[in-house]
């Protein structure tokens, strides 16, 4: 996998500027998930972000969890398991399932 460079560079640059940063990574997928494992999203404490873990479906929720991880310094494992019927409500219109690991950058 090689589309990580830009995202990690931005994360390092925010961190070096003294900002709190968290990284979200897709660690498991089922069905028609829009992004493969390893796909990353970097989030700064002010809500700025770069990268993608779901092509836009669940980024909003992931960014909130990432900001919480920056505040409390704890990693979290998020599940976005949705059936096709519920898909619209949760935002994963494709009906796929993904697991996303969120960790603060120390």
């Amino acid at each position: 996998m090689s589309d990580h460079a830009e995202i990690l560079e931005q994360a390092a640059s925010w961190r070096n500027a003294g900002k709190g940063v968290a990284l979200a990574t897709v660690v498991k997928t089922w069905g028609s998930s829009p992004r493969p494992t390893g796909a990353k999203l970097a989030v700064a404490e002010d809500g700025a972000f770069v990268g993608s873990v779901s092509g836009g479906c669940v980024e909003g929720a992931v960014i909130e969890e990432a900001q919480a991880a920056i505040r409390d310094g704890e990693p979290r494992l998020l599940d976005f398991g949705v059936s096709d019927e519920q898909a619209w409500e949760v935002g994963l219109a494709c009906g796929g399932k993904i697991e996303i690991f969120v960790e603060p950058v120390e």
Binding site: M1, S2, A5, T25, V27, T37, G38, E103, E106
Partner: protein, 233 residues
Amino acid sequence: MKRGYIEAVLAANNEGRSVALATELRSGAQLFLDGDQVEGDLALDDGSVATMREALRADRNISLDMAEGRVFVQVFSPPRRCLVVGAVHIAQPLVPMLIAADYRPIVIDPRGAWATEARFPGVELSTEWPDEAFERLKPDRSTAVVTLTHDPKIDDPALVAALRSDAFYIGALGSKRNHARRLERLAAEHGFGENELARIHGPIGLDIGAVSQAEIAISIMGEMTSVLRRGSL
């Protein structure tokens, strides 16, 4: 993830090395693997470290189910390269498409008037002859090679070097007739057999009726992507 690991990933990739990071998904404990060096606060047994090395070699992310919990292993590889032989008109739309698709393009053309900063701003350029450039750049299985000059003096040495490498994709611009002649030359002058020559995609690109330079670049990107992701068309 420690800031130090982020910097270590970027530094290793810059030097052309792949590295791997294992993360235990409850605690966030991590183990960083770079060549013979292993460091971090995640204790993995030798068997798991060996599996991690295997994932690194195969360039695949994996999950390990351990007694302690689930561990995600991510492999960070340097960007794939594309050696573009010929700083010609088609290369101008092709290069930004390669960059958008996360390739590192390197444009090679011994004709100094073509490979100029003005024609390819910010792009890695080489005015070496292709055989010299390929010797230095050492194409590997994460490298694509595209020849675009139509000139056998420039394209042929590039194709010879590409066929002797593990390049995952080799494409050559030129009509069906010119491609047939090219294959005859490569067989007669360099002794390549039919199976080896079959690695060259020629005429280059998917048959989508491309007319403009940008459309030809799209057809090349489509073919390269198909070979990368499916192993064939």
